[in-house]
């Protein structure tokens, strides 16, 4: 399996029995932040080995929650560096299919620099799909200028992204709360553990939900299946008009179920739940509006007959 090592050379790694820890593999990712604390913390944490020093672009002072500072000032300052870093990662790919942009919309760096990078990607790699997974601020948000930053960034997303998956913090925390509550029904001891974890690192659980969503999206590219859906097929089928590319996503099930073989009524229930607002990653009720297109991505032991039965329902 070809991979980029810490020295930047591409080498072949034997797959082995698939059980040993990955040691010299690096993520094909570029981390950009205008202040060093978060990135520094990440490098010192358990995921630190996944990232290479040359994949980071950082500054000292931050964007001050201002979109213009992020987009215009830092965007121009780091333009060449961004282009070079992205090119280095992209060249090591055998076949580049898409870019995933993950940032927030409320702050200055995420919305400003993030959308600037999107513009750069559109200019440099026009044929490569750009997926944006963006975090919109909820009603109770701690940044005062977040509405301005959102609106300004929103326009850039509409112009430059191929597909946007909006996520809301409020929805994520509700989902995490529900997952904890349902797990506490099963065992009481684990509930205490869960609540302590929730207190210490609140965003980890929420980020976990988003990570699961992304894994589900890309699982068809990574595993074999009877009816696999590629990433560009998702864009193709769900985006009928070029500017209407905002997708509402929902994820099921949210917690690990001990019983692997889901009974049939549970599976049918999952299909119905997928359309309910409780499992969505943004606070919206699409049933009040019009569905332009809808896609159900399934992983695991699900048969065509179950799918057909539920679709006809």
């Amino acid at each position: 399996m070809p991979a980029t090592t810490s020295s930047g050379n591409i080498t072949e790694h034997p797959l082995g029995d698939g059980k040993t820890k990955i040691q010299t593999l690096k993520a094909r990712a570029v981390l950009v932040d205008m202040e060093e604390s978060v990135v520094g913390g990440l490098l010192k944490g358990p995921l630190g080995e996944l990232f290479d020093n040359r994949q980071l672009i950082t500054d000292v002072s931050g964007s001050g929650n201002n979109w213009v500072v992020g987009n215009r000032t830092y965007g121009s300052k780091y333009h060449d560096q961004i282009v070079d870093t992205v090119r280095r990662s992209a060249e090591s790919c055998d076949h580049l299919q898409s870019f995933f942009m993950m940032h927030s919309m409320g702050g200055g760096t995420g919305s400003g620099v993030g959308t600037r990078i999107l513009e750069i990607l559109r200019d440099e790699y026009p044929d490569v799909h750009r997926f944006s997974v963006v975090v919109y601020p909820s009603e109770k948000d701690d940044v005062i200028t977040s509405p301005y930053n959102c609106v300004l960034a929103h326009r850039e997303l509409t112009e430059n992204a191929d597909c946007v998956l909006p996520i809301e913090n409020q929805a994520l925390s509700d989902i995490c709360g529900k997952a904890v509550a349902s797990q506490s029904k099963h065992t009481s001891s684990s509930a205490r553990q869960c609540s302590s974890i929730t207190k210490d690192k609140p965003f980890d659980e929420m980020n976990n939900v988003v990570a699961n969503l992304l894994l589900a999206l890309t699982s068809a590219s990574r595993f074999e299946g009877s009816l696999n859906v590629d990433l560009n097929e998702i864009t193709m089928n769900l985006v009928p008009f070029p500017r209407l590319h905002y997708l509402v996503s929902s994820l099921l099930p949210l917690y690990s179920v001990k019983d692997v073989a889901l009974p049939l009524h549970r599976l049918d229930q999952s299909f119905s739940d997928a359309f309910s607002p409780e499992y969505q990653l943004i606070k919206a009720n699409p049933k009040h509006g019009l569905y332009l297109a809808c896609a159900l991505l399934l992983r695991g032991q699900v048969n065509v007959s179950d799918v057909r039965r539920n679709i006809e329902r």
Partner: protein, 342 residues
């Protein structure tokens, strides 16, 4: 070697040409009568214009023009098409090619096995149609049969309507016959006839392969069957049905009674059983059965087109709106042809 107007010594009968030389664009008339000879003609008897002097003879005439090679008497006029011949052709000798063992070699028969494609996705439909067209360009005399899988009516993919219309329109021109299989029907067969609780794509594929294999009887190849069914260029869609269908557990208990067919048709019979069944019957029909699924999908695709949905995705890769409308027109003409059969 016999000349025009001569009768071959091996078989009693007559064979005439109305000219010994012809130019491209001209018509040659052939008259033959071997009906008194007592000879029993079969598949390998060929009528045509063959190039002499090489080990393998190749019939230069398209099968549609050739005529029924098993007829013991008949007359036919052939127009020498420019893409097959040089400017001027001299028909110097005329050899009646009968497969009674007197001929030194057999005419080479070339037929393609069914080309399977699905029409809802991108690769199967797009690349499948492209391959069919290239095959048609490279081998204009070969029978090309496409086995097409029609998607579920409730939808597999949002743009299946567009993909199906584009593929069908291309195949209508390039293929000789289109064997239509519908996912909905296959699914019902699996659920109800075969009694499977959980149907997978492997099961659907097994049904298709069972039907195709049973259609390829030892007497007559699927290419010949299809060319007989689809002799008119506008009617190329063949629907397929097969009996019996029974779950694996029931094989030991059934000695099957064949239901009488409601309509007369050519029957090709083979003496042996097939795939655990003692008797097996497959019906290939060129009928109006294909109108409903084609029409349904066409209407949905047209609704999407009127709203302008997904068109930017197709335009991005080079398909214009005009071309799309042309393809719609082709398919609607095909549906209309079938619907107005009386």
């Amino acid at each position: 070697m016999a000349g025009p107007g001569d009768t071959p010594s091996q078989v009693q009968g007559s064979l005439h040409l109305d000219r010994a030389e012809a130019s491209v664009g001209e018509t040659v008339g052939v008259y033959w009568d071997f009906s008194d000879s007592g000879y029993l003609a079969n598949n390998r008897d060929g009528i045509g214009i063959f190039e002499i002097g090489e080990v393998e003879y190749e019939n230069h005439l398209d099968w549609k023009v050739r005529g029924d090679s098993r007829a013991l008497f008949g007359q036919i006029k052939w127009k020498l098409m420019p893409h097959l011949f040089e400017k001027h052709v001299t028909i110097v000798t005329f050899v009646p090619r009968l497969s009674s063992g007197h001929a030194s070699c057999r005419p080479q028969t070339r037929q393609a096995s069914p080309l399977p494609i699905t029409v809802s996705g991108g690769t199967g439909s797009g690349v499948g149609a492209y391959v069919t067209e290239r095959l048609r360009d490279e081998y204009p005399h070969v029978t090309i049969v496409n086995q097409v899988v029609w998607p579920y009516a409730s939808g597999e993919v949002s743009v299946q309507g567009y993909n199906a219309i584009l593929t069908t329109s291309h195949l209508q021109k390039a293929a000789d016959a289109i064997l239509l299989f519908q996912n909905d029907q296959l699914h019902q067969t699996c659920l109800k006839r075969l009694g499977l609780r959980h149907v997978t794509f492997t099961d659907l594929n097994k049904v298709i392969s069972h039907v195709l294999a049973s259609a390829c009887s030892p007497l007559c190849s699927i290419g010949d069957l299809c060319t007989q069914l689809c002799s008119h260029g506008d009617y190329k869609v063949v629907s397929v049905k097969s009996i019996p269908w029974m779950p694996d557990q029931c094989h030991a208990y059934s000695s099957h009674l064949m239901e009488p067919e409601a309509w007369r048709c050519d029957a090709w019979g083979s003496g042996c059983g097939f795939n655990k069944h003692d008797k097996c019957c497959t019906l290939l029909t060129n009928s109006q059965g294909c109108v409903r699924p084609l029409n349904q999908l066409c209407e949905k695709a047209w609704t999407m087109y009127s709203a302008g949905a997904y068109l930017h995705q197709y335009e991005r890769y080079g398909l214009t709106k005009d071309e799309m409308i042309e393809r719609f027109a082709d398919v609607e003409l095909m549906i209309k042809n079938y619907a107005t059969i009386t």
